[in-house]
Symmetry: C2
Subunit: 373 residues, 2 copies
């Protein structure tokens, strides 16, 4: 099947957080967990009527108690159905929604997009289905973790298939914008290859690094620095959820894992043979990869620099440092706190625009901070 | 050769940042780069005489101009030589130091420890050599990036070999403590296996994830979230430096890469066969690994929880949030700022003790912050 890239390029002028004319409600949310309830709250915030359904009646009670909508009743006629169920059940839930609500637009918020599309494409009404995937989540799950602003500023993939009704696409885009998210247009296949690359395979490699730690003696692990903490952070994610996500995107994941295996073999061969130049080539390919990740706010990458400051580890010191950075009129783009064993002092890394780093260093030093030039 | 774990257990009562009676100087620093110059500055801060040498006379001029010591002169008789040269040259520089300064204690700050030891063990005076490795660094290099407090609170491996003179070990421990670092006692072989596990292999897996990104179309990369940024951050490190480090620790790295390859094959087989249970087992082994990384300050892991807050992305807001957290009497253990494309609002994750999270949420909400429960 051809990959139409047309919709992916379609620009829209509507600012984030505002809704267009297409979506007027009611919106039915199927699955009142973290994502579904958050969608409900965002729709209610915009004044839309929201209907809720879930296999767990307790979830529906909780979500409606939070103001995310009211329980679905027989005779309700939603304009849009948002399927927000676990990955393994998305395809079926979309099919059920198309059959139960003829004429309604159906979208979903699942992590993979080709499978659900293939499971509905032969069905009557398939033109009313437009896949979606918000890049948002939380370490917590369930309706109590939901928030109307969960999607604020996050990318939200919209994945029309070749037969998607253009009017249905408009409705879904309205939903994305009223949730405060930023639409990213991709075909279902493109989407799945994209998340294999930017999410599923990095997750699996994080797991491979983390899995080595469990066998490490305690005094060896004492040498853990910020690097290994960063590399392994996502590996703490729920195995059941991630096995569904990765399992549902097998083809795209396997393609990339084949590349990983090939490059891993190259690393093993290079280290085994003491071939520094081959090893450097692999390491350089990693450096190149880190440079293509889009900058904050999606703009062109501005050169950033890290400023290191020693900060006593008790309440108030970090706030005082940030306040002094503000007084220095430098915007802190990112912060990392170094975790150090055994000593009540922390090393804080402030990431700022390169052109402002020297000014910040001088200013913080004049305010008595110990910086690391 | 047996791995004596004796020295690794040796407790010492001297608080960090104070120096004992063993180290009286002068201290000769060989290699006036980031680490060497920082050692010099820390020793000078404690009133020790510091001598500097480097193949680059400009580095020596810069470092001495920064107050890290004075250039080495003929006839100088150091008590301690600190070798701080690139990984490939550590062994040779240690041998040269032992021959040039008989009676002096010699240590180094290199990233691997077995190789240097093996290269000096047959040499006269080898008992005066005690390896070391501070877990400190910076994205910058050279003497200008140095700081007396670079090692504050950082782990610093001390790696005596079986023939190391106990008095030499005392001198090196004094150095570590006056630099403000926390000694971690390991044999050279233990050290190398430890850093393979906690640093070198995580680095290589980060590179394998990052290397996949370079081939990704721009609209695919638009789906990059905080996860892939974390996993790939260290992959931006200098390929020449890391090929030296990894190359010098080939045996320990290869052992673990063999395990990685085996588990990668298991992942590929499980995904290919749709074997969710096998995939879940691998993912669970990653979760277990993330749980053994020591807590901040090396104490037992306290349960932490993340509190998410929406923060407008302009100067002052982050500082105001931190100040409000302080006013709530909750200590923020870690911060992460989510990078979101396209929207002037950031999602800030505050990591706090689990028992304080609900209090912080309520307190921040009462101060007008939008939290994500």
């Amino acid at each position: 099947m051809p990959e139409t890239s047309g919709p992916a390029e379609r620009p829209r002028g509507l600012p984030a957080g505002q809704r267009g004319d297409w979506l007027t409600g009611p919106v039915l949310v199927v699955g009142a967990g973290l994502l579904g309830t958050s969608v409900g709250l965002a729709c209610r915030r915009s004044g839309l009527e929201v209907l809720l359904s879930d296999v767990s009646s307790e979830h529906v009670r909780t979500a409606s108690g939070m103001g995310a909508g009211r329980p679905l009743e027989p005779g309700d006629r939603p304009e849009l159905v948002v399927v927000a169920v676990p990955p393994d059940h998305v395809g079926e839930a979309v099919r059920v929604a198309l059959a139960a609500h003829p004429g309604a637009v159906v979208t979903d918020v699942g992590s993979v997009k080709t499978g659900p599309w293939q499971s509905v494409r032969e069905q009557a009404g398939a033109a009313s289905y437009v896949g979606g995937h918000p890049m948002a989540g939380s370490e917590r799950s369930g309706p109590l973790a939901a928030s109307a602003s969960l999607f604020d500023g996050r990318p939200w993939a919209i994945t029309p298939h070749p037969e998607s009704d253009p009017a249905a696409v408009e409705v879904v885009e309205d939903l994305v914008r009223l949730c405060g998210a930023v639409p990213v247009w991709l075909t279902p296949q493109e989407h799945d290859r994209a998340v294999a690359r930017t999410s599923h395979v990095p997750h699996l490699l994080s797991v491979l690094a983390a899995a080595r730690l469990a066998a490490g003696p305690e005094n060896h692990l004492a040498l853990s620095g910020q690097g290994v903490r960063d590399v392994t952070r996502v590996a703490a994610g729920d195995p059941r959820l991630y096995s569904q996500i990765v399992g549902a995107n097998a083809d795209a994941v396997l393609d990339l894992l084949g590349e990983v295996r090939e490059q891993l073999d190259a690393v093993i061969a290079a280290v085994g043979a003491g071939d520094r130049s081959a090893l450097e080539d692999v390491l350089a390919s990693g450096v190149a990869g880190t440079r293509v990740i889009p900058a904050k706010h999606g703009g062109p990458a501005r050169p950033m620099r890290s400023v290191w400051v020693s900060v006593p580890d008790h309440p108030g010191e970090l706030a005082r440092l940030l306040a002094d950075a503000v007084a220095s009129e430098v915007n802190v783009e990112d912060i990392r706190i170094d975790h150090d064993p055994g000593r009540p002092v922390g090393l804080v890394e402030l990431v700022v625009e390169d052109t402002r780093a020297d000014h910040l260093l001088g200013s913080l030093e004049s305010r008595g901070w110990e910086t690391h030039r």
